[in-house]
Every structure is written in structure tokens, then in C-alpha cells.
Symmetry: C2
Subunit: 317 residues, 2 copies
């Protein structure tokens, strides 16, 4: 009998889940809307119904060894989520409730840690024991692996590198309530904020001036930069430089073999990576110079969240 | 037969070594001058002669199970030291040479990692699996423990938190060649530099004005502050604030149970710790607020370096 795991990625908008085999093949996947139900019980009912349908359709009844869940603010140690601002039910004992419903062991962690596990199990970090996963999405997430283990810390919540302070004074306001966090500059939202700042502070022409400033997204900045727009290219230089400086600081902590970059902004390629690598090298302590690699994720973005969560499913007991 | 280890701490000035039992009792210790010999062979001859004398005098022949060495820039993985600016022999295969000379297994690591091991084995971090040791001496060193293991990273050199950049622009020049490193502000030398800056930038009276500005040490600042000198107290506020801000950033990385503060400056007590804890709390990401403890080292400073190095001796093979 071929064993499977069920990977579940609970995002603010969608909950994606899939059946995954031991080689990292996503046998089948589906999704439901996370926000449809105010009561967690109703959400869990729908998730269980839809996942069971997927399991039946793929002849996987009785073959699911474990369930892995990636969710915001999920705690690996106690299986809870707490104060998850993007979810309708900010705090609850997630692992316990899902395990009782499915009758299958469940392990949970936050989405970026799940991505790191996925990368180590199936992706660019196979064979690596020391690496840092940086996820560039609406925010900046991270999953840190040291000695082949995800770093959960004393309370199960370690690895929040998006909230390193990169600008101590007059930094941008962050969703966390503080100012100057890395994610206010280097997330997709951060790129859009930089665009608005640069457009206001400068006079040079830019294709970005042709759209309402509040509507500009990181994708618009990317499109403009690819077409040679200098202001748009400068926005990526600014973003990559800040991220590279921060990564040089992260290196003195754990001396990783590689940084794996994942998420929408990673698709900007050299627009982001060239200034990033230059800043990282320029700011690197000499003993680490030239050592940490910077690698783009090898996971297909559509599958990545489910794969990452599923990798945790093998650990569930 | 009671087994012992030999702990050796190689500092820029002195090399201290001692025989330690399994309970962390320093049975006997002695020292030689590190800088006396330009050739490492001569230094090693003297170290071997003096250590053998100590071993014989304490009836410990044949009972030394391993030798642990703490030394600047020492690499746990390959046993080498490299580019150690404070030593007369900047690069060599230290573990191999000492092991051949003594006929005993040797393990090496840098001095701050050794201190963390000592604290975990014999000191304030007994029973802790996740903590960060911060050593405040001429520089700022660190030893990071995650999941009960010292973090060595991919290359064996991880844990250089003294070289996190705390001031990105116009920061102080660091011995590493870069500017703005934590250790340019929060080491004993950093405190003396702050004193010189504050005395020049301000007009208020201070007992520190009674001595030649280039001769002021962190001890002088401490003595003045204890006697109520406001400028001296401000120097500690400034120092503690920068260290507390940096420790809040370190927390998002590994979520430690505690920070253990060690070294000369740690003896300043609340002069340093009060502003440090306030800044750490003020800058802490809410999910970690109030969690990491700040604890002073429990190791006697005279014994600490030898104890830390000796803790590594039990791992040598």
C-alpha cells in the first residue's frame, strides 16, 4: 500500500489541500474559501467533506498517514493558532480539532516554516542542513533550518525575520504595530509603498505615473521595470538592497549554506536579485564573504503551499 | 577512576587552562602568556610542559578524557583557527596539533560558543534548550543554542552577533573593517568610545572630565555612574538601549528562552540591564513580548573560560 499525507495550507483567502505521496507528487488537490464560515466548526465540516471527497475519488481511503497544516501564527509545539489577524477565528487548538474530525494525526506550523520543510523535502534545499527560506508575499515570512531541523524556538514561534527592524528611526508603519520592519519594505506591499514614495519624491517621467497611485501593485512595477522604466528599476534596486543588507545580518546568526527565495516577488528575477546579491556581498562580514548562496525556490508556486504543509504530515503522530 | 577533562582558553593575552571534573569543579588551573612565542611549536611546547606539570601535581595522569579549547575564530568542524587577528599565529590546524602533542582527543570552538557550552553544562542555562549567550568584553561575542545544540552553521563559524549592523549609516568603524557593528557600541571599548563622544558633544559637568579623555575605560564610566554622575549614567543608558534593541531583533530569529549576559560589562548590573530590558520590551514583536528572560552568567569569571572550554572536552573524540 502506497502511503500518502494530506497537506493543508490555510491562507487568509483560500484553504488549499492536496494528497501527496512520499516522492512529493501532488496526486490531487482542491480548495475551499477560508472566510466563508464565521464558525470554525462549519469551516471544518466543509473542509472534511471536501477533503474526504478528494480522498475517495483518488482511492486513498485508509492510506493517509498524517495531516500537515501550514497556517498563520500556528504553533508547532502545542498545535494552536493564536492572534492570526487574517483568519476569521484568530485563536483555537487547530491540530486537536482537525485530528478529532479526521481521525488522523495532525501537525501544524506557520506557512513559511512549512515552505522551508517543503523545500528541504522536495525542493532546492534537498540535502541541506542549514538554510533560511525567505517568502516574499503580502508580507515577508521566513523558515530557518539549522542542523537539519526547523527552528521553532522556546515557544514554537521562532523565525519571524520579516519583523527584523531595518530602519530604526522614521521607518514605515508595520501591521505588527511597530515601525521599520523588513516586511514594510521588501514584501509585494512594500514595493508598492516604495513606488508611491518615489513617485511623490521625484519628478522624472515614469510609466507608473499613468495609473492611479493607490492602485499600483508590485506587478505593475515589475512590468514597468522590464520595459526599461528607470524609476521602476530603482524601486527594485531599493528593495533588493534592503533585503541584501538584512540577509548579511542574518548570516552572522546562523551561517546558512543558502537563502532560498520564494513567493511572488521572487519571480522578478535579476531585477531583485542583482541589487540583493550586491548589497549582501558589500555588507557581509569578511569570514562569511561569498559563502551563502542565494537560490530561487524550486517548488511550483501552485503546489508549494500544499507540498510544504504535507512534508509536515509525515512527522504527525 | 574519576574522569577529567582539560579546558584551555586561548586569549589574546593569556592562555588559561584547567583540570575539570564531571561536576564542573575546577580541580586546578594555571596559565601561560599567549604572545611569548612567535612560533606556535614553541608555544605548544610550553603549554604541554605546564599542563603536564598541572596534571601530574593533581594525580590526573591517564584520567584526561578529552581537551576542549576556546579560541578566537576557532572552527568546530575542522578544528582550525583562521584569521585570528589577536593571536601571533593567525591560522593553523589547532585541534590536530594539540591532539598530536598530548595524545588526547581535542575539540575546539570560539570563545563565546565555549562560554555558552559552559553555561549550559554548569551555569545559568542548565536545563535550557534555547538560549543566546552574549559576552561583553573587548568585543561583543555570542554563542547561540537551539534545540540543545550550539549553532555552528554551514561552515562552523556561526554566532557572530557582535557584528550585526545596528547603525546602517555613519556608524562607528569596527575592527572587522565595516561600520556600525553592535560591538562598536556595546563592548567595553564601545562604552569608552561613547564616553569620548558624549564628553565632546556635551557641556555638562562630569567626573569623567577630570581624566585624559583617551585613558577613560568602561570601568571609569561605571565608577562615575555609581557615584551619581549623570553623563556616565547616560552612557550606560545609550549602551543598554542599543543592546536591548538588537536583542529584540535576535528574538524574532530563534525565540530564545533567555539571554545570558557575560563578561566585564555585565558586572554593571542595573546600570546596563534596566535600559537594556526597557529597550528590548519596547522594541519586541508582540508575540514574543515578555517572554525572553535576561539573566547574568552564573559562572565565576575567573573560571568561566576554562569551564566553557572544558565542557567541549567531553565531546572530543
Amino acid at each position: 500500500m502506497k502511503p500518502y499525507v494530506l497537506g493543508i495550507d490555510i491562507g487568509g483567502t483560500n484553504t488549499v489541500f492536496g494528497i501527496v505521496d512520499a516522492r512529493g507528487n501532488v496526486i490531487a488537490s482542491s480548495s475551499i474559501k477560508t472566510q466563508k464560515h464565521n464558525k470554525f466548526e462549519d469551516y471544518l465540516d466543509e473542509l472534511h467533506t471536501e477533503a474526504s471527497r478528494l480522498i475517495d475519488a483518488n482511492d486513498a481511503q485508509g492510506k493517509i498517514q498524517g495531516i500537515g497544516i501550514g497556517a498563520p501564527n500556528a504553533n508547532y509545539y502545542d498545535g494552536t493558532i493564536s492572534n492570526a489577524v487574517n483568519l476569521p477565528w484568530p485563536s483555537l487548538p487547530l491540530a486537536q480539532l482537525v485530528s478529532e474530525k479526521f481521525g488522523i494525526p495532525v501537525a501544524v506550523t506557520n506557512d513559511a516554516n512549512a515552505a522551508a520543510l517543503g523545500e528541504m523535502t522536495y525542493g532546492a534545499a534537498r540535502g541541506m542542513k542549514d538554510f533560511i527560506m525567505i517568502t516574499l508575499g503580502t508580507g515577508v515570512g521566513s523558515g530557518i533550518v539549522i542542523n537539519g531541523q526547523v527552528v521553532y524556538g522556546h515557544d514554537g514561534l521562532a523565525g519571524e525575520l520579516g519583523h527584523i527592524i531595518v530602519k530604526r528611526n522614521n521607518g514605515r508603519l508595520c501591521g505588527c504595530g511597530r515601525t521599520g520592519c523588513l516586511e514594510t519594505y521588501c514584501s509585494a506591499t512594500g514595493v508598492a509603498r516604495t513606488a508611491r514614495e518615489f513617485l511623490e519624491a521625484r519628478n522624472e517621467p515614469s510609466a507608473l505615473r499613468n495609473m492611479p497611485v493607490e492602485d499600483i501593485t508590485s506587478k505593475d512595477v515589475y512590468d514597468a521595470a522590464i520595459n526599461g522604466d528607470n524609476l521602476a528599476k530603482d524601486i527594485f534596486n531599493f528593495t533588493g538592497t534592503i533585503l541584501g543588507e538584512a540577509m548579511a545580518d542574518m548570516t552572522v546568526f546562523s551561517s546558512p549554506e543558502a537563502f532560498i527565495i520564494f513567493g511572488g516577488l521572487a519571480k522578478s528575477g535579476d531585477l531583485l536579485l542583482r541589487p540583493l546579491k550586491e548589497a549582501m556581498d558589500r555588507n557581509m562580514l569578511s569570514m562569511f564573504k561569498g559563502k551563502p548562496k542565494v537560490i530561487l525556490s524550486e517548488l511550483k508556486e501552485a503546489d508549494a503551499a500544499v507540498l510544504g504543509a504535507s512534508a509536515l504530515g509525515w512527522e504527525a503522530k
